[in-house]
């Protein structure tokens, strides 16, 4: 093939001498010349896909009529939130690639199929081996009188939004008041436009001709829920309202609209978002097949009726439809590029999934949202008070997810959308009720499923990392893909996927704790127990290598604590502890700590409250009530901790474990002592349980709850052990948790008396401590046991493994040897030495700490505030109440 592009920028004369670019090309006789008409997002994706996989022989001429680099049109609304046009620009490298010539501010005027050439408006003639039409759409306006008055806009290009903003500012200055605006069209784009206008202080109404907002994506109840959210945001909504005329004043400025029912509304600015019209006139001129309703007809290979011409994106009509969403356009771009490169690919049809990008209004629609599949079932969850409506559409056997609608809380969109067409794996209600928590088994996750939402890493990417990049453990996958590198919530999910993939390839996920121990936590626990070793040095010398790390040291500290019952700061133990366990308080973001006095059962005397208040006041601490029925005091410095504890200990408190892999709290309702409905003393039991299990070190944190009746006000089923009172005794539930993957606890036993309950909890907790993996909470632990919950019942109630005596003895040792860790520290000068701020200045506060006041309390100053933005900043002595 030969490149024979010719160019004359200022002369429409075709067939002129080759330009420098053309000459350069002719030196290589095997170039493949691609012309892309259009330089929007889909064209950009095509370019990226082709050039990243194609060799030097590909020569692309990109022709776009906007005088800009390709930009993110979907993110247009962010322009009003302060993004500059540059922020929206798409990756420049693909356009700047030496294989690309970019004619911007020009447009293809004519296609000469016989000569395989296009001619641009400015007269450039370019020959092609393959032509790609990616011309997109025009934003439509209503065909009513006055649609083009001054002050009427569409919402499609950066120029559109720039002129809209300029108009609003100018007109509002002229009128000396904020403007009244109307958005005609209540679809996705209309709502974004309304949000943008509102951001410009325009008092805004959305006018929609159908009976609900986003009628292409939402059913009636969802549309109604969305309407309430939009109205709550201060944007008026008029449905079933058809505009018939726009009026202007004498200077031509729009001033009002008339509707079909005869009503009239004043307006200063109008934005049309009534849909798009494919820019298919090039194709019509070239006599390609064009659909009667518009759009260049393509097949699944994205070819038009001329096999040397493809069409992708909004200009393409597939299966009788043109779609104004970017994702299907991207899919077409990939198909067209793959085909050109000689690969096999087919456009699978439109995925109409969408998510509204308007702050504070969460809406998503995906798959078969209208349940049009024959026999489809709906599962609906609606909470009109909270403004939440969620619907999942399932196949007739309720096993396959077909689609859904989420309004008011679309946090599950990322997890659900990739599951469309696959097994839902679990009770559909679980996906609807808790916010965002999806407990699907990872083995069934499709490759497209988003595992790490912080860094947008899919299950497929993780699988590739294992199979093609040789990752054999979670930390390798984390470095390679960034999965789990941000908030860390998905690490257990990543681990399961890595394990499953390694198993497929015949390898096993190493259960080694870290580079220092080949043993898993459970194996190490047994090794320490059987060997009777009692120090880290002895254990690592016998069972490990090296000097340990931040993974194996805390694990050993926990195991030794269970087996030997020594103080966390005794001897070498101290060096093994995470900073929280080491200073027995909670590290906060600025390096200060929080202190949480233990308040068993949430029961506290007025005198106790006063002491806590005085401590917080005297040390200048920020106070907050926790979710575990305690009071957290923030901003304590390392060197202040012993003084704070002393005050608490003197008043009869001990500090509490609000940190560490240990028992946190036992939450309770008020129980039968006060409550009209209570059937047993929930507070009394909660106090007893907290005092029994406090200080118990475990593979992960432990939370317990006690409810005094079936109303379950203590939310005990969200706890690792939940106890619920009945007339017949205590019901014991296990395996509940909140967090990233919320779980409801399941019933282990019913009608237990006090002693039976304590024995069952003792054995459950100790069996967990003995055998669970590091950072494995109780739910995944018991599910992985042989026989699951039945197996667990066998161990606890029937002693099927013959270990109950060991479990009971271990718990008895824990209960007997428990000491107030804080008081013991105060009594030991050696331990107290660790609480010096600096070894050479033991009481000097960390000079980098700085605080500012917010709502009458201190909080850490931000970096910007430290750099001096006029906000009062104090060092470590901010007083906010005196």
């Amino acid at each position: 093939m030969r490149f024979t592009a010719t160019s004359r920028k200022h002369n429409a004369d075709e067939g002129a001498t080759p330009d420098a670019y053309g000459n350069a090309m002719t030196t290589d006789g095997d170039d493949t010349r691609i012309v892309v008409a259009g330089a929007g997002m889909v064209a950009h994706r095509f370019l990226e896909s082709l050039l990243s996989r194609g060799g030097p022989e590909w020569r692309v001429t990109l022709i776009g009529d906007e005088p800009r680099h390709p930009y993110d049109r979907v993110g247009l609304t962010s322009f009003f939130a302060g993004s500059s046009p540059d922020d929206l620009e798409l990756e420049r490298a693909h356009v700047d690639d030496e294989r690309v010539r970019f004619l911007r501010g020009d447009t293809v005027a004519r296609i000469d199929r016989a000569a395989s050439r296009v001619t641009t408006r400015s007269g450039v003639s370019v020959a092609y081996d393959h032509l790609v039409l990616a011309t997109g759409s025009y934003a439509a306006r209503l065909a009513v009188d006055g649609y083009d008055h001054d002050g009427c806009f569409v919402y499609r290009t950066l120029d559109d939004v720039e002129s809209l903003e300029a108009f609003v500012r100018r007109r509002s200055a002229e009128l000396g008041r904020p403007l009244v605006g109307t958005v005609i069209g209540g679809g996705l784009l209309g709502l974004e436009a309304a949000g943008a206008l509102q951001g410009l202080e325009v008092d805004c109404t959305v006018v929609q001709s159908s009976d609900r907002l986003m009628s292409a994506q939402l059913d009636r109840p969802a549309g109604d829920a969305l309407r309430r959210l939009i109205e709550a945001r201060g944007i008026r909504v008029e449905t079933e309202s058809v505009t018939t005329r726009l009026d202007a004043d004498r200077s031509g400025q729009v001033i009002g609209l008339e509707f079909r029912d005869g009503t009239y509304a004043q307006t200063d600015v109008v934005v049309f978002t009534v849909g798009v019209r494919p820019r298919d006139e090039l194709a019509r001129g070239a006599e390609l097949d064009v659909h009667p309703r518009g759009g260049v007809v393509i097949d699944a290979a994205c070819r038009t009726s001329d096999p040397r011409i493809s069409a992708i994106g909004e200009v393409a009509n597939f299966d009788g439809m043109c779609v104004g969403l970017v994702a299907p356009g991207y899919a077409m771009a990939e198909v067209a590029a793959t085909r050109l490169l000689g690969g096999v690919a087919a456009f699978p049809g439109y995925d109409l999934s969408t998510k509204l990008k308007l702050s504070g209004v969460d809406v998503a629609s995906f798959g078969d949202a209208f349940a049009e599949t024959s026999g489809a079932l709906d599962v609906v969850y609606a909470d009109p008070v909270a403004g939440v409506y969620k619907k999942l559409v399932l196949s007739d056997d309720a096993k396959t997810l077909l689609g859904g609608i989420l309004v008011g809380d679309a946090s599950a969109y990322g997890s659900l959308r990739p599951l469309v067409g696959g097994a839902l794996g679990g009770d559909p209600v679980a996906y609807l009720v808790p916010s965002g928590g999806v407990a699907a088994s990872t083995g069934e996750l499709p490759d497209a499923a988003l595992v790490c939402s912080c860094n947008s890493v899919t299950a497929g990417t993780i699988r590739t990392a294992v199979h093609e990049q040789g990752c054999t453990d979670v930390s390798a996958v984390k470095s390679c893909t960034k999965a789990g590198a941000a908030c860390g919530s998905c690490v257990m999910m990543v681990k399961q996927i890595v394990g499953a993939e390694l198993a497929k390839s015949g390898a096993a996920l190493s259960t080694a704790l870290c580079e220092h121990f080949e043993l898993s936590r459970r194996e190490l626990f047994d090794a320490v127990r059987v060997s009777g070793l009692s120090t880290f040095s002895a254990v690592i010398a016998r069972f490990g290598t090296g000097r340990g790390c931040d993974i194996c040291k805390p694990v050993l500290a926990s195991i030794l604590s269970t087996l030997t019952g020594t103080h966390v700061l005794d001897g070498e133990n101290a060096t093994l502890q995470d900073t929280n366990d080491h200073v027995m308080a909670n590290l906060q973001k600025d390096g200060s700590y929080s202190v949480v006095p233990r308040i068993p059962g949430g029961e506290v005397t007025p005198e106790g409250l006063l002491v806590i208040g005085e401590v917080a006041r005297d040390f200048g601490l920020y106070t907050k009530i926790t979710g575990g029925q305690r009071i957290d005091m923030f901003g304590a410095r390392l060197e202040q901790l012993p003084d704070i504890w002393r005050r608490l200990v003197d008043a009869g408190f001990e500090s509490g474990h609000a940190y560490g892999k240990s028992l946190r709290t036992v939450k309770s309702c008020v129980g039968s002592t006060w409550c009209r409905f209570g059937v047993q003393d929930a507070v009394g039991l909660a106090v007893q349980l907290e005092l029994r299990y406090r200080g118990l070190r475990s593979p992960h944190k432990l939370k317990l709850g006690v409810s005094g009746c079936a109303r379950e006000c203590a939310e005990a089923r969200g706890k690792d052990v939940g106890v619920i009172a009945t007339e017949a005794g205590w019901n014991m539930y296990i395996g509940g948790n909140g967090g990233f993957t919320p779980r409801h606890a399941v019933l282990l036993a019913e009608g237990l008396d006090d002693d039976e309950l304590l024995t069952a909890i003792d054995r459950f907790l100790m069996y967990y401590v003995f055998t669970a993996d590091r950072l494995q909470r109780t739910a995944p632990w018991f599910e992985a046991l042989d026989g699951g919950i039945d197996g667990l019942r066998g161990v606890i109630f029937d002693d099927r493994l013959g270990i109950c005596a060991d479990l009971d003895a271990a718990m008895a040792r824990h209960v007997d040897t428990y000491e107030d860790e804080w008081r013991a520290t105060l009594d030991d000068p050696e331990k107290l030495r660790r609480f010096a701020s600096f070894v050479n200045a033991p009481t000097t506060p960390d000079p980098s700490l700085a605080y500012t006041a917010e709502r009458g309390q201190p909080r850490p100053a931000t970096d910007a505030e430290r750099l001096g933005s006029g906000v009062p900043i104090a060092g470590t002595t901010l007083e906010v109440r005196r």
Binding site: D550, K553, P554, F838, V839, P847
Partner: protein
Amino acid sequence: MTLMDSPTPLAPGIGLASSEPVTDWVRVCDVADLEVERGRAALLGDAQIALFLLHDGRVHAVSNFDPYSRANVISRGIVGSRADRPTVASPMYKQVFDLRTGACLDTQGKEPMSLPTWPVAVDGRRVLVQSVSQ
């Protein structure tokens, strides 16, 4: 004077030429003030440093400022090893640093950032740190 683990030789004359950076060995504490395999913070002029005494008796000094969390917490991290390199893990977001060079060995998926280090000498029971100032 027994010098251990001094990555750069002692300056032959302290505070000689005024155009050169002036270096000075500052006594920070005694070895007995440190705990094996646990850090201690110390003030070195305006700088906050973290001192670590290893099981072999060596002492290392790195910055106490964790560049990832932007808080002065490195001295409160867990000491360990990666292969034969002595390490500390930040208690905040668990990045792991080489105690000898300050290099970040495990960025937890973030961009690599390292810790400044200071030369340390152990003279009998005293711990000396070389402070550098212009």
